[in-house]
Symmetry: none
Subunit: 413 residues, 2 copies
């Protein structure tokens, strides 16, 4: 079963808002085996809307349209869909009762705009909108489905989850799609590709996408087929083959973030952590504390942005800073050992580097970062060289610090 998503609204074409509806709908459809072939966005313009309807309806089994169902002057989608399916608008009693109930709950008055919203295409079926006044529209023809939903994300989501997905799931036959995403850190897209070797042999018909981001490359495996058991078996086999090649770079699956992986590792080992940050400026602590329950293992973060604070608070010897500079292996190690000591934790982690755009010297280029690690057994620091602007260097350095901690905890070389 193939589908297309059409989103309507001038606010999308001028870039005023980011289209989150598309991704939400696509994810829900894929989960039940309805493939999305194309997504189209047009403005509040009758010709453009009708052209988009025409192009989509010719090619796919399911069209989902969002936007332009509201009661104001620029909302013309309802008129467009009536034209397209040659249907007239008529007052709908079910919608009227629903709107009356909502207005009562919201303490609002019936208005001319409410009246306008009771009009519904005569040939269509109503898709209930539990949280809003605009009813969803379904035209069904020759086993194909054309949905029109409001663009308000909360209303659209309710209707997708409660009506459309359960209904379409019963119509999807012999088509199973499964995805699995493996999240890696500390290795580039091209090195990953190299290490995976011959992809045809690896994938045996599955698909693999490389999705790079500043904090790591995600590997998304997709298997498509008719038999659920066979599809899941192939997915699992491909996952195992990929892990056999690049296991040490994989920190999690699907939506799992590196800071969650680390949280689980620290919790299961009953270890506590403190961090002292220079170039990352609080971002490592910010990431760690994004995890609910992090207060169980994360004791303290320190942003020692000035040299005196490194000396006074962390006890980094000022001679060390004079001899090697604040961005050095020696200072990174002293910062990691220092924060571990003053926070009384099992592990201390530190960052010091040159995030830019100023501060570089002939021997210390922009993007140079040292990450320090200290525990009861050992203290060391690792050198990194990152590209990108100030924010990018901060993000990469923070991720590198967390990745260094993960590898250390798992004793990965």
């Amino acid at each position: 079963m193939k589908s297309e998503i059409i989103t309507i609204g001038d606010e999308l074409l001028i870039g005023q808002i980011i289209n989150t509806n598309q991704a939400y709908i696509a994810e829900q459809l894929n989960a039940i085996g309805v493939r999305v072939d194309r997504m189209t966005t047009v403005g509040d313009d009758m010709t453009a809307i009708l052209e988009a309807f025409e192009a989509a309806w010719k090619h796919v089994d399911v069209v989902i349209v969002t936007g332009g169902l509201g009661p104001t002057h620029d909302d013309i989608t309802k008129k467009a869909v009536c034209t397209f399916f040659d249907s007239d608008l008529a007052p709908n009693e079910e919608i009227k009762l629903h709107i009356q109930e909502l207005l009562k709950r919201w303490n609002r008055q019936w208005s001319a705009l409410s009246e306008e919203q009771t009009l519904f295409p005569q040939k269509a079926q109503l898709v209930p909108n539990p949280v809003g006044t605009a009813g969803g529209i379904l035209f069904e023809e020759d086993g194909k489905f054309f949905y029109v939903l409001p663009g308000v994300p909360q209303e659209m989501k309710e209707m997708i989850d409660k009506s459309i997905v359960p209904f379409l799931a019963t119509h999807v036959k012999n088509s199973v799609i499964r995805h699995l995403t493996l999240r890696t850190s500390g290795i580039s897209e091209s090195l990953l590709a190299n290490q995976l070797g011959d992809l045809d042999e690896l994938l045996q018909g599955a698909k693999l996408a490389f999705l790079p981001s500043p904090t790591g490359v995600r590997l998304r495996i997709t298997v498509h087929g008719n038999d659920e058991i066979a599809v899941e078996r192939l997915l699992s086999e491909v996952e195992q083959r990929i892990r056999a090649h690049v296991q040490k770079y994989i920190y999690g699956t699907n939506l799992e973030e590196l800071e969650e992986t680390i949280g689980n590792l620290l919790t299961s080992r009953k270890l506590t952590l403190a961090v002292s940050e220079s170039c990352t400026g609080g971002l490592v602590a910010d990431k760690i504390t994004d995890v609910s329950g992090s207060s169980n293992y994360f004791q303290q973060g320190l942003v020692t942005y000035s040299n005196p604070s490194k000396v006074d608070v962390l006890g980094v010897p000022s001679l060390l800073i004079e001899q090697h500079g604040a961005v050095s292996k020696e200072v990174a190690e002293a910062m990691a050992a220092g924060i571990r000591r003053i926070a009384h934790t099992d592990i201390g982690l530190s960052t010091t580097g040159i995030a830019g755009p100023t501060g570089a010297t002939s021997t210390k280029p922009l993007g140079l970062v040292w990450v320090g690690y200290s525990d009861a057994e050992t203290t060391f620091a690792t050198r990194y060289q990152f590209g990108g602007d100030r924010r990018r260097v901060k993000e990469r350095a923070a991720q590198a610090a967390l990745e260094l901690l993960r590898r250390r905890l798992l004793k990965i070389e």
Copy 2:
């Protein structure tokens, strides 16, 4: 001048990532008077890509394609555009030198994938990619422009900002569009609308968009016309009228972030700052240190995530925590005063709150946050109640802390 944006990638069609590139490109094109008529998204599929190219190239003057330019097997956009414009790929010396330089800077080796990236369509012009290895492609035919860019947002943005927008701006005739964005904090969309009064009178033909985000509402003024001087005069008049109504909420214009505003205020007043964070977990420090030169005024950040660290490091009396709880006016004030004392700064700022999803009590709901402030004259704390998930509460609390500091520095009530 009309345009279409085509984004390519299976990851978009399965809803794994939200399409932010579209909105960014649309916003930049609109700013120079290039209207966006349609946005299309297709997967990594040759037929679908070529169909999308064909449909767009027939209708518009500018096509901008992103995605699928990387070196791995699923990146087929380069092949598609060569097919579409009947051009062969050949090694490009300029790209080769650029990749060599980047790899050297990143400390990486030349590989077969690098070799692959030096191949470029013979009939196309190169759009430089200062921050990545994939060169942008421009085909120009009969005064129309077909661009292909990488999908990595940072690379795409560099190329849009530095090459494409300046170039296209010289081709747009008799159409002047000017935008100005006023950034506000600490006031809701509907209160802003109330305070602005009659919009028709205020705008005199200009357009005003309310753009809410977790960290504040941006007001974007747009003026469209034929005469540059008249357009800029109206823009300036509307700006002054808006400021007359809501000046105290406006912290900056266009891309200026609140942390930059604060950096400028602290620098001009020669004041130093330290922060101690509980619920924001390092995010306030992270924001402050996103500003280049922040080391001149930002001395130290402290993330006291556990109660013992609040007592031991900040010197918050443990009795205060027992009596009022860690999330209280009293503890927020003691944290602000404490960090100011130990970091020897002019100002201390603090946050303590319940970011969730756990930790709420009958008297202290999720999203409750106290922001503390301390200087030589005064110490106080302000209460906030935020909605949203853990990350959202952190973001709102961090922004509220910076906004409280801004208003205090400017003596705004």
